[in-house]
């Protein structure tokens, strides 16, 4: 399959990338790992007029400790997050999530900035970003995760706005992310995350709606002393997932409850 023709330019700094995006106009796109964009372009579901390749911006690939925060440069690849000693120590759930994204070939290319900007309903990092109150920093502003994932494939990013980094709080208490899928390298049919933090629980769900979901009803039930299995019954409260080839809406709601229970029970 051959994508539609497009203009191509390499940027060596964020300023240059932003300028190029502005010059090309609305139909230009950033090219990061390419592992969501190129598959869409091959199917011609995406036909950008121009691609601005940011892979040459070396200072966007970093993981920095910053007090009670961890800052991930937008070009940090899944493989780097998976193996990072600081991440394993300060935010182990993210290293575990990274290690379960796609396969080695996907993890060698895909970037955290790309997952966040793409805002696929089945993306894994967005769930963790939402439930831990992460922030998305662009070349213009800082956006809280809860204001970032607006709808499926929809974020507040302007056409010439570039994600620079994703900032997570340190969280190294008991945690678990369970991703339900039929083959090891598949996207989640449904995913559930549990993280103990500041004495309470944070619970997040993947692919049960157009955006990631924070299961506040479960968090509150746990806070008032409910057992995991009781609290997890609330995981499907208010959900209205759409069915797809792999799961009906009812089945996704069932998975949300079962996986939430398991995630809380297996958190360590």
């Amino acid at each position: 399959m051959i994508p539609a023709a497009f203009e191509y330019a390499r940027a060596s700094s964020v300023e240059e990338a932003s300028k190029l995006l502005k010059t090309y106009g609305e139909d230009a796109k950033v090219l990061a790992g390419g592992h969501s964009l190129i598959p869409l372009m091959r199917l011609r579901l995406a036909q950008p007029k121009a691609l601005v390749d940011i892979n040459g911006i070396k200072d966007l690939d970093y993981i920095k400790e910053d007090g009670s925060k961890l800052r991930f440069g937008a070009l940090t690849r899944h493989v780097t997050i998976e193996h990072s000693a600081v991440v394993k120590q300060k935010l182990p759930i993210l290293a575990e999530v990274a290690s379960e994204i796609g396969d080695n070939q996907v993890r060698n290319m895909g970037t955290i900035g790309g997952v966040v900007a793409h805002a696929d309903a089945a993306g894994d990092y967005p769930t963790i970003a939402l439930m831990l109150d992460a922030e998305i920093v662009t070349n213009r502003r800082t956006i809280a995760a809860k204001d970032f994932f607006k709808d499926i494939f929809t974020t507040p990013l302007a056409a010439d706005e570039i994600v620079i980094e994703v900032v997570f709080p340190v969280a190294n208490g008991p945690h678990k992310y369970i991703k339900f899928r039929r083959r090891l390298f598949d996207w989640a049919i449904v995913g559930a995350a549990a993280q103990k933090m500041n004495g309470g629980w944070r619970i997040g769900l993947t692919n049960v709606g157009p955006t990631p979901v924070r299961a506040k009803a479960v968090e509150e039930a746990l806070h008032t002393g409910a057992k995991p299995e009781e609290a997890a019954q609330h995981a499907s409260d208010g959900l209205n997932p759409s069915g797809d080839l792999r799961a009906s809406p009812e089945y996704k709601k069932h998975l949300a409850r079962v996986l939430t229970k398991r995630a809380i029970e297996q958190a360590e």
């Binding site: 399959m1 051959i2 994508p3 539609a4 023709a5 497009f6 203009e7 191509y8 390499r10 090219l31 390419g34 592992h35 190129i38 598959p39 372009m41 091959r42 199917l43 691609l51 390749d53 892979n55 493989v79 796609g102 396969d103 080695n104 070939q105 996907v106 060698n108 290319m109 083959r183 090891l184 390298f185």
Partner: protein
């Protein structure tokens, strides 16, 4: 508009003018003329097109040729040295790690990356390391044996034997 791309493919410098939409796998097969890298699915699912880009396993169907500017590429054609098969190639041959062979170049490149990161993988680590490669013929057991055998030849000290015993002709 065409773009100049210079890469090193299996140790040889290459320079071409290419369209930006040309996928790396088409560049290797149709422009450079190395057809050992296969296209299995064209949808980033099967791993048949796996090559090494600066030593990392990458699906060449999910990268544009223009992105390979300045990179070192290794394809299956770059594995044998001086007429001698690479230990992985030899092991796939010896352990019957292939039947039709369509998936094999991708498996060998993915396995080469795996062994570069972990010279001594357990069976489980091999299964996980090759999760992005699909084979429709072998049932995978002999592929895993092949990688274990290659790991041994390449110096991995405690390569474990395959988990499942081979079926003996005529049954027990």
């Amino acid at each position: 508009m065409k773009h100049k791309v210079s890469t090193t493919v299996n140790g040889t410098r290459r320079e071409h003018e290419v369209e930006s939409r040309l996928l790396l796998v088409h560049y290797l097969r149709d422009v450079v003329g190395l057809t050992g890298t296969h296209i299995g699915c064209d949808t980033s699912q099967c791993g048949a097109c796996t090559i090494l880009v600066d030593g990392k396993a990458v699906m060449s169907c999910t990268m544009f040729a223009v992105q390979a500017e300045g990179k070192q590429l290794t394809t299956i054609e770059g594995m044998a040295k001086d007429g001698e098969l690479h230990p992985l190639q030899q092991a796939f041959w010896d352990e019957h790690g292939l039947q039709c062979g369509y998936c094999t170049p991708g498996f060998i490149m993915a396995a080469a990356y795996l062994l570069s990161q972990n010279p001594n993988p357990t069976e489980d680590e091999i299964r996980r390391g090759l999760e992005g490669n699909l084979c429709r013929c072998t049932g995978y057991v002999n592929i895993i044996k092949s990688v274990q055998s290659a790991a041994k030849t390449m110096g991995g000290a405690k390569a474990k034997p395959a988990g499942r015993p081979a079926v003996t002709a005529g049954g027990e």
